[in-house]
Point group: none
Chain length 185, copies 4
């Protein structure tokens, strides 16, 4: 308990707030929102507890910042994949690889997203984050698909990801491709 902690003389530390947000994302991934506490984040970032409440007014603020960052990262991938597609066929491929490679590839972010959904159900501040995020991914899809299709496709992607996230036998890339093709055919 004691003796193992090396001295930690780090008075001047610009960018600490930033590192704390990253640490929060790590903790949410590993322990869930329910297991995300000031202490756990501080420990993960190797920072004294008091530092948390210096940089953030409340734990909710930390969560909101963390999820905002997560949503921005995922949304960027969406944008990049879809803006790189030159025609509809390429867009379909982009969606498939988005789900197979980006979303399901990293167990990590997948759990994060689901955590965010649930947290948003109780926390209005977080709900704003999810909604902005949903809107942004829909817009990315609308580069290539009409509004109705974009919306439905977005829901299908959500379902495929969630299902795979929770299943013992998640869908293979081939199965993902099949489902999306079928819908978009």
């Amino acid at each position: 308990m004691s003796g193992s902690t090396p001295r930690r003389p780090r008075r001047h530390d610009p960018g600490r707030r930033d590192r704390l947000i990253d640490a929060a994302l790590t903790v949410i991934r590993e322990r869930g929102v329910a297991g995300t506490t000031h202490r756990e984040i501080a420990r993960t970032a190797d920072v004294p507890l008091g530092s948390m409440t210096y940089h953030f007014a409340s734990l909710d603020e930390v969560l909101a910042e963390a999820f905002t960052r997560h949503a921005a990262l995922v949304a960027r991938v969406f944008d990049e994949r879809l803006s790189a597609a030159r025609d509809r066929d390429a867009a379909v491929e982009a969606v498939i690889s988005l789900v197979s490679d980006d979303l399901l590839g990293s167990q990590h972010d997948l759990v994060l997203s689901v955590e965010l959904y649930v947290a948003a159900a109780r926390n209005p501040a977080l709900r704003a984050v999810t909604q902005a995020w949903m809107a942004r991914s829909r817009q990315a899809l609308e580069r290539h698909f009409d509004a109705t299709t974009a919306r439905e496709l977005d829901a299908l992607i959500e379902g495929l990801v969630l299902h795979s996230a929770l299943s013992t036998d998640p869908m293979t890339p081939g199965q993902i491709r099949h489902a999306i093709y079928r819908y978009l055919s």
Copy 2:
């Protein structure tokens, strides 16, 4: 301090365990898994705190029982809707009404389901519950659709429900119908 507590003389109370599970579901719905505590459940069921640990070995046991019951209720609706369908067309209508009426109709159970998904991500005992549930709804769909279609359809349903649950403008029944038709066409 006195006078406000109504008498509660219920020493012999068969079925109390049962009522506690229902109370747990109520609390999960209203406060989320994170806000579900022995105390809150006991208060909701109007039962002394000590009664909780008398009937359940741990809070996790309570959660598992509660979610098992919830899953059974939802699965039953799935079964009933789909077994009532005489042909594929009727099955398609059944799926549509399942989503529009049963799942989205009651905000209640919708939140409950998402809560379960996330809780399952951390808790192996709960994961078994979700998986049994997923398997069962897939089976119900397989009465009318081939295995691949059933699986994909199940994911689509999930996505539509989740999306609507979190959106400020949830899909209308007409939009739900459109999405499912399109997929099954």
Copy 3:
């Protein structure tokens, strides 16, 4: 810090709530309301911290109970002194000895009373306690004096006590007697 605390195996302890209220009064006397914390009270009563919040919903509740008890004790002395007086002269003597002996005699209760006054200025629950107490002491005085005199006398008593409490040279019994005589002459 450790090693000096003897085992404290006291699971069954009826009357604990009561002892906690007394402990709270002790702490208020010694440390002031500002220095009265759950921890300090628990330590004084030699009881685990968790016990405090088991018996009281909040620290304010503890304060209210403690001051209510204090007020009741002081009011009782008032009642006894004054009801023992057979005529007006005896009543005057009773008031004098009340101030000199009972109120100023014990530095203890004197500080307690002033603490209560200030706490009441911010805390409506405590204000109710002070007001009930004021009313009661006025009633006791009204056994022997008309309403106006009772009220004014009550204020004079307050002033004499407060002044003496804070002064480096508090009034002697003779001076107290002189002041009261002069007013009642």
Copy 4:
């Protein structure tokens, strides 16, 4: 996070220490000594937190300065009222109007005074302030009354003020006048 904080470019600011003392008095009035913190004072004065410990060695120093200023203000009113009185009758009127108008007129200073009394009970530095203050108001009274009368009158004033401060039905000016007349008759 941004945009809401108005610019505050006040590097050179003589008289800041002074403004901080006034801000402290404001905070004590509104939140009590218990609620008076570096942060609250800095916020009230619209000054960075670090400025507090730059100008004052400790919070106690701030309190002492604040109360000293408060006592000086009240004492000045005492002096002015009483030095304006040309004879004993005028002095009696002066005392009455002191209590009715100056002390009870402004709820403000009334609470402040009582706060000071209690704080003084625990804090020797503050006790010196109250005692100097008491001495000074007694001196003012001694311009017109003998030493014993001055002392007793001072206590009566204290009692009338405290009583009125805490009562739901504070004394009317007429009642104040009656009490003081009776004592001085």
